[in-house]
């Protein structure tokens, strides 16, 4: 393989490749910057040192990552189930639309991070409160996108179903829900990142394990390289979770326009 071919292949529009390439580039730039500017190690350690620290004690970090991941997935699942049911209720019932939806809008305008201490008072400092915070923060994205998806049905499609004397329930699960799936997945991609944010917030407030806890306790002892290990692991976790949802989306709705050509669905995740 010639050098040109190698470069071409590396830059080919292959997602896994380009992701790795971009990340490797970023780390390289970081390493070079540290070499040139030589900041004190407790301000900005070089990535090689951070990586070394991680490799030194993999079981330790894996254990904390597992705590965070578990709470995040749990919170996400709760948000998904509650969110989809709430959305169906809002779309099908005027009363729920006027009450629940209004309430959710109000709730969403509060920075939900501010609720974290409350949850801990109510539910204790165990995993349950972190799951609850995570679910609360992730819920909104699921509800809003599912409502949108359920509502944006072609009226003629509903006429068609009605002409076949479909019941309301049949219209829901044979027409509205499948029609809402692309929108629901867009919401899930946002929600999965939000769920992770929620868990870290919970771990910041109180916990005895998890990557948020690792960051807080390392910061307490000025172990800045360890803070960086945890942050990088969080980045990896978030990325993997996002692409896991993306993969499931491809498997569940291969019929959707965004997947027919095999191109990646462009979705943006807001950061908090």
């Amino acid at each position: 393989m010639t050098g040109v071919q190698l470069v071409r292949r590396l830059f080919a529009p292959n997602r896994a490749h380009s992701i790795l390439l971009v990340l490797a580039g970023a780390f390289l730039a970081w390493e070079v910057a540290v070499l040139i500017f030589k900041p004190p190690i407790f301000l900005l350690p070089p990535p090689s040192l951070v990586l070394g620290l991680l490799l030194d004690d993999i079981p330790f970090y894996a254990n904390h990552a597992r705590h965070t991941l578990g709470a995040c997935l749990f919170g996400f699942a709760v948000a998904l189930v509650v969110g989809v049911f709430a959305a169906v209720g809002i779309v099908y019932s005027r009363v729920l639309e006027n009450t629940l939806y209004t309430l959710l809008v109000a709730l969403n305008s509060i920075p939900k991070i501010a609720l974290a201490p409350l949850f801990i008072i109510w539910m204790g400092s165990g995993t349950a409160s972190r799951v609850a915070i995570s679910a609360t923060i992730a819920l909104w994205a699921i509800v809003i996108d599912t409502v949108l998806g359920l509502r944006s049905v072609d009226p003629e499609m509903l006429d068609m179903a009605r002409s076949m004397r479909a019941t309301r329930l049949q219209v829901l699960y044979r027409i509205r829900l499948p029609n809402a799936l692309p929108s629901l997945f867009a919401g899930m991609k946002v929600a999965i990142s939000m769920a992770l944010v929620g868990v870290i917030v919970g771990e910041f407030v109180t916990s005895e394990a998890g990557l948020g806890y690792t960051i807080l306790s390392a910061q307490g002892t000025f172990n800045i390289p360890m803070v960086f290990v945890a942050i990088i692991l969080l980045g990896v976790l978030g990325t993997v979770l996002f692409y896991a949802v993306d993969l499931i989306e491809r498997l569940v709705i291969p019929w959707h326009v965004s997947h027919r050509g095999g191109a990646a669905a462009p979705t943006t995740t807001p950061s908090v």
Binding site: D154, E156, M157, D159, M160, A161, R162, S163, M164, R165, A166, T167, Q170, R174, I175, P178, L181, I253, W255, H256, V257, R260
Partner: protein, 273 residues
Amino acid sequence: MTTGATSRGSVVAPGVPYVDAANVDKIYPSPKGAVTALRGVTFDIRDREFLSVLGPSGCGKSTFLKCVAGLTDISAGKLTVKGIPVAGPPANMGIVFQRDILLDWRTNLENVLLPVDFRRLSRKEWVGRARDLFALLGLSGFEDRSPWELSGGMRQRVAICRALIQNPELLLMDEPFGALDALTRDEMNLELQRVWIADAKTVLFITHSIVESVFLSDRVVVMTRSPGRVLDVIEIDLPRPRELNIRETPQFGTYVAHIRELFRQMGMFARSP
């Protein structure tokens, strides 16, 4: 009037039309001012008759079809199907809409079986008929493909299979062949005539094509510009089954010329052919 050979007996009492519209008005309320889509529409569709409705765009043809289908209420007048005032979609009805409205998340075969699923019938018992319809409409081999893998004409044919799957007594078709090229359209006209003769359905067929309406119909209803009223009802007394070349006969030409003249009187040239 000539009707095709019938495989079923009459489902309405003698003398009672299958669909009967008397002075039907339809007004769509709207914040920007109500739209009168139909005004005093009066005509009937006889049992096992093939009836076409012709009219300028926006004159209320689709609206009338939706009223018959029970998908929208009439504002005034009387509209009965089999002697009973329309209140909601009747059983034994199939519709082909102006757009195909296939579900992307179902295969073509599953789309055709949608009415079967809605009625909670066994797919197994209907899949054979579904495949026969695919073959009849030249779609064999596309059963397990998705709608988005088909051309516009093929999609419309899938929609026709879906309307026919339960062998409805009443078939409502809203410009089903509008999106097809001329050759496929001819072929579909022959196919539709065959289905109609074999299964003896009552058909309400909406079209923009004068030639198509004369070719297929027992009677043609011509509507005026919006708000739609009935301008004329023309009996088409041509023998069945009709071959495509019947369109070159002088008798056929006379019907077409007559209808074209009606459109000219409305101050417009009918869309050809």
